[in-house]
Symmetry: C2
DNA sequence: CGCACCATGTAATGCGTTACATGATTTT
DNA sequence: AAAATCATGTAACGCATTACATGGTGCG
């Protein structure tokens, strides 16, 4: 009988990608769990997010595995906090993941598309209204990326020239978000027109 | 003390969106679990998917709730099959969901963006290679939508004129997929250029 | 006075994947 | 002879959300 010789890869138990999102953040500087959450919400939020509870449990796992270490800090007025730092092992782990090419497309789940796909059962007017409603949401989001997000990135880059290379990539991801929202707006407009003219 | 008067909504236990994906498919015609899987893979696959195991369990739930009904059919050569049909209650449920506007943007998880975001730690050459690799994958996918998928939809519409309205919406979702892949290709090209010129 | 912010965790539950278990028929 | 298609399910596990549980500080 043959033994399993394939399946070389680490087969790590525990988190999937969140693990790397957290390691990436700790790669910039030590942070609390709460701080990681804040950092995510205000940077990767529009393409990667997590709840606090999951961040706390994942940090605990990462510590058990030796990818991060923590120290409790007492504070004058605020409650105690546990500050996490990335370890050398964690850095190796992160760098290995970054270097590995993505060999496929990640599977999408677009609720809007699912609805539109089956909307032949729906009445014309409700569909048009709903499409327009979504359009406005995406338009606002695009605007947010163009103004608020762009400013935040520029500010971070100006404050700390050491992150210039990082800021370039952050800006690239922001631009992706902006374009995706623009695409949504255009597609929704076009789809409304299609329905108006051919239903 | 106040009692909870809010929280009117149904609070249904069980599946999230998969439920509606299945009801939508059964809305076209009765099908087996295996058939639902096939239908999904060859239509909504690029924006909504599920594993067979999950489809079987969800169908069982839907039957318990009365949204679908099933009958076992014996076959000459093939194994027995359980054919599911949507019930009136299921149709109401589906229509209600279709009519309800999406009031937010669904949260995204884009692994590629996550990687790019943290790739300041990576070396220039590896990043460029990986970006190019992804570019090719997305280019191929865009091509698939333009040729294969477009043909399939046109064929379905030609075979059965009754689904003309549906086919229009199917084509709209296909076009979304095509554009999204085009966007990816363009963004990846632009990002590579950015890295080449400014790293 | 109330709300937002800072700060940490656990428990229960739901959603989704992988692995297990089976097996005939049809196509290449 | 091997692979794909047809066909059904269960069990274990991992990933993610919601709910539970707590409490001080600062601001308007």
């Amino acid at each position: 009988m043959m033994y399993k010789l394939w399946c070389i890869k680490s087969d790590r138990k525990g988190a999937g990608m969140l693990r790397y999102a957290i390691l990436g953040m700790l790669g910039y500087q030590p942070m609390t769990g709460y701080g990681v959450k804040h950092a995510m919400d205000s940077s990767t939020g529009y393409f990667w997010h997590a709840k606090l509870s999951q961040i706390y449990t994942t940090l605990k796992q990462l510590e058990k595995e030796g990818a991060v270490s923590s120290a409790v800090e007492r504070q004058a007025t605020r409650p105690e906090k546990r500050v996490y730092s990335i370890t050398d092992a964690g850095r190796r782990d992160l760098d290995e993941w970054l270097a590995a090419p993505l060999i496929g497309l990640d599977p999408r789940k677009e609720t809007l598309l699912l609805k539109v796909f089956f909307s032949g059962r729906l009445d014309r007017e409700t569909l048009l209204t709903n499409l327009h409603l979504q359009r406005e949401l995406h338009r606002k989001q695009a605007e947010l990326y163009r103004t608020h997000t762009a400013r935040e990135i520029a500010r971070a880059a100006a404050q700390n020239p050491a992150v210039a290379k990082d800021a370039m990539l952050w800006e690239a991801t922001r631009r992706f978000g902006e374009r995706l929202e623009d695409l949504m707006v255009n597609w929704l407009d076009e789809t409304r027109r299609l329905v108006e003219e051919n239903w």
